[in-house]
């Protein structure tokens, strides 16, 4: 069958099982947009290419399937760079297809030409510049393979316009040809035994759970392992939901704005069972002072993560789900003796005491009647149907979202952890809703973030993708304001945004959303209930929250995790 390269691309996406792509057409990608008309693949027309990238990420995070975005060359490619960098940091499988100028024009500074493969080399797992239409099916198959196997991540295919127009003989490859790419998925048996032995001997162990557990679909296996070992669990910002917050062994999030108990339990532990986490600086604080007495079991599918930040006593390269299953088997076999729950009893008592003494707190009944952002998130969480997905931007609202929402399922918390991309929430929520139309999708957003990507709510309205946005409007770039207050002697530099410029309600309505403004605590629950009833349109609730509110606990930058600042609620104790 003779078809064009563009037809071959669309057909290859169909063969790959793609049901939706996020994109925006333009000159160099024009040939590809013609066969899209005839394809069963749903195309969602975004308003900015960055939105297409984040939607693909949101889709992938909600479904564990690869998200796909198609954009044109030059400025479109550079617009999607942020999403690629974001997906690379957080190991999100997305496939981005960019148009490119004709092969004969490459290198001539042609109109809308950019060195896309060069620019994206260090923020993709791999990228391809296709020079001949016959390569297209092979490259598409390889691109999806690379994006979704091993440590997942973004890939990019750069497709010159003349290659799209070139005729080729259609084929679908049986296999990939990647001699240098063989991710190791099974843990080494000797390491598994060594890990089992450490687990049995530990008196103060903690499970340190990262996003890898969600990417590998290991939540159920993890629950079995945790309950078998009876060991407390912390879930990182990327790992929220991998283990249920409602479980008695869950201590919540560790790190800079984690719970006192999660931070301190890690810090004082004698064994960190690290599954799919990477000792990020926001988790460890000052690395040289991090968990000084802890032995480390470190399981990761990416060998480069083992020993990158902290030397592991037992490093295990493998898919965390398979390794968890292997660990369960090794413990069941009793290779290193039976599990003795009594040796951790003192530890559990200590952890429980920390939980009782230092819970997450905020002023629940402020005398001045101000609206606390933490209260908003708490109400959102309580009123949300089971399995609701929460997307988030980056900043204070993200931390409150992670702290005060109860995550009980994997793939229900979608945020930008590693790169910290402001404006992530709205497009990511839209992508998540496209992937999981059966679920309610809320986004918690800040006023700074909202102004970066709000235009995608036009996409949501036009494409009938109903998402709900809780905009915590404190009229500031709040996290930056918090740092200026605490570390720059209250010298506020360029952080004030104004509460009513723009008018968020009018703006949301102009984009086809239902919009509400909430200014008092009394209105919070009724308005959220109203929003939860609306299923045919997107909803924006603007909450005018107390601008003075800061995120606590906090481990100041550069400090060790022994120096947790608990905040005003614990002053005078």
């Amino acid at each position: 069958m003779r078809i064009t390269g563009a037809q071959a691309l669309v057909k290859s996406l169909e063969m790959q099982g793609v049901d939706v792509v996020f994109g925006l057409p333009g000159g160099a990608i024009l040939p590809v947009y013609d066969p899209i008309i005839d394809s069963p693949i749903r195309h969602i027309l975004v308003r900015h290419e960055q939105g297409a990238g984040h939607m693909a990420e949101g889709y992938a995070q909600a479904t564990n399937k690869p998200g796909v975005a198609i954009v044109t060359s030059g400025p479109a490619a550079t617009n999607i760079v942020t999403a690629l960098a974001d997906a690379y940091m957080d190991s999100i499988p997305i496939v981005v297809i960019t148009g490119q100028v004709a092969t004969s024009s490459i290198g001539t500074d042609a109109f809308q030409e950019a060195d896309t493969t060069g620019i994206t080399m260090s923020i993709t797992k791999h990228n391809w510049l296709i020079k001949d239409a016959s390569e297209i099916p092979q490259v598409v198959k390889e691109a999806f393979h690379v994006a979704t196997t091993g440590r997942p991540g973004p890939v990019l295919i750069d497709l010159p316009k003349d290659v799209s127009n070139q005729m080729m003989d259609w084929y679908w490859p049986d296999s990939v040809d990647l001699p240098g790419y063989k991710p190791n998925v099974k843990g080494h048996p000797r390491s598994i035994s060594a890990a089992a032995k450490l687990i049995k001997e530990a008196k103060k162990p903690v499970f340190y759970i990262g996003g890898g557990v969600i990417r590998s679909g290991a939540s159920a296996a993890l629950k079995t392992l945790v309950e078998k070992c009876n060991i407390p669990v912390v879930t990182t910002l990327m790992g929220r939901g991998a283990f249920p917050d409602d479980h008695p062994l869950c201590l919540g999030m560790p790190g800079m704005h984690g719970t006192y108990t999660a931070i301190t339990a890690m810090q004082k532990s004698d064994l960190l069972i690290t599954l799919g986490a990477r000792f990020d600086d926001r988790v460890t604080g000052k690395v040289s002072g991090f968990a000084p007495e802890a032995k480390i079991i470190h399981v990761d599918i990416d060998p480069a993560e083992l020993g990158k930040v902290r030397r592991a006593d037992v490093p295990i390269v493998g898919d965390v789900k398979l390794v968890i299953e292997e660990l369960i088997e090794a413990l069941d076999k009793g290779e290193a003796g039976e599990l003795d729950y009594s040796i951790t009893q003192e530890w559990h008592d200590q952890v429980k005491k920390w939980q009782e003494d230092f819970p997450l707190r905020y002023e629940e009944d402020p005398k001045d009647g101000s609206l606390k952002p933490q209260y908003v998130v708490e109400c959102l969480s309580k009123l949300a149907p089971e399995g609701t997905i929460l997307a988030s931007g980056v900043g204070q609202h993200q931390m409150w979202g992670s702290q005060f929402w109860h995550f009980n399922d994997a793939n229900t918390w979608i945020n930008s952890g590693g790169l910290g991309t402001m404006g992530f929430a709205i497009p990511a929520a839209i992508g998540a809703k496209v992937g999981r139309p059966d679920k309610m999708v809320w986004a918690v957003d800040g006023d700074g973030c909202f102004q970066m990507t709000a235009q995608e709510l036009v996409t949501a309205s036009a494409e009938r993708i109903p998402v709900k946005i809780a905009l915590l409007n404190n009229a500031y770039l709040g996290m930056v304001r918090q740092w200026q207050e605490m570390f720059y002697e209250e010298r506020y530099s360029e952080v004030y945004l104004s509460p009513d410029l723009p008018d968020y309600v009018k703006w949301a309505e102009a984009m086809g959303c239902v919009a509400f403004r909430v200014e008092t605590p009394e209105d919070v629950i009724p308005t959220i209930e109203k929003a939860n009833q609306i299923n045919d349109r997107s909803v924006v609730i603007e909450f005018r929250t107390d601008w003075r509110e800061k995120v606590f606990p906090m481990v100041p930058s550069g400090a060790t995790n022994d120096e947790v600042v608990l905040g005003p609620m614990f002053e005078g104790r």
Binding site: T117, G118, M121, S122, K125, H126, L129, K131, V146, L178, P179, G180, Y181, D302, P303, A304, L306, G307, K308
Partner: protein
Amino acid sequence: MTNASPNLIPMSMPGGKSSTEFGYHVLSVLVENKAGVLARVAQLFSRRGYSIYSLAVAPTDDERFSRLTVVVDLESVTLEQITKQLHKLINVIKITEIDPRESVQQELLLAIVAADTQSRSQIMELAGIFGAKVIDVGLERLTLALADTPDRLDDFTGLIKVFGIIEVQRTGRVALTKLARPSTRGGMNRGKAS
């Protein structure tokens, strides 16, 4: 091979130390011979903050693959982290660390040396001792070529400096692991290749 006595060679000159004393490691990296592969390797080094001391690249006998010989400066980062990050590149097939004692290493040097009628014969004599070739001759200059171990090139450079080097160009080393062979005299095979 030349039979120059080791005591002819001044060992104290800069660059005269062996690679490991300087914290250098030699990696032999087999890569797929695809467009941009060198850029990927180079960008990885710069992105992760590793420094390349020298880099040589050429296709192997199998045209699908190329071999890079990278000499890396290990001041700031472990060799393990570099090799693991390199392995993450999809086009990297195999990475071998080349132990200087267990490998053969060669590098090519081209040097233009000032050579008037008085010094010319001395220079040619020195070239002869080192096995360097005279590959170009001008009125007042000679161009010499020497392929040998990096240490020997350092030594040679130090000696011809006396006559006045106009320009010098080195390729960076290429290296392969020594062939296994039955040892008849204990550790003698582990001696310096010369």
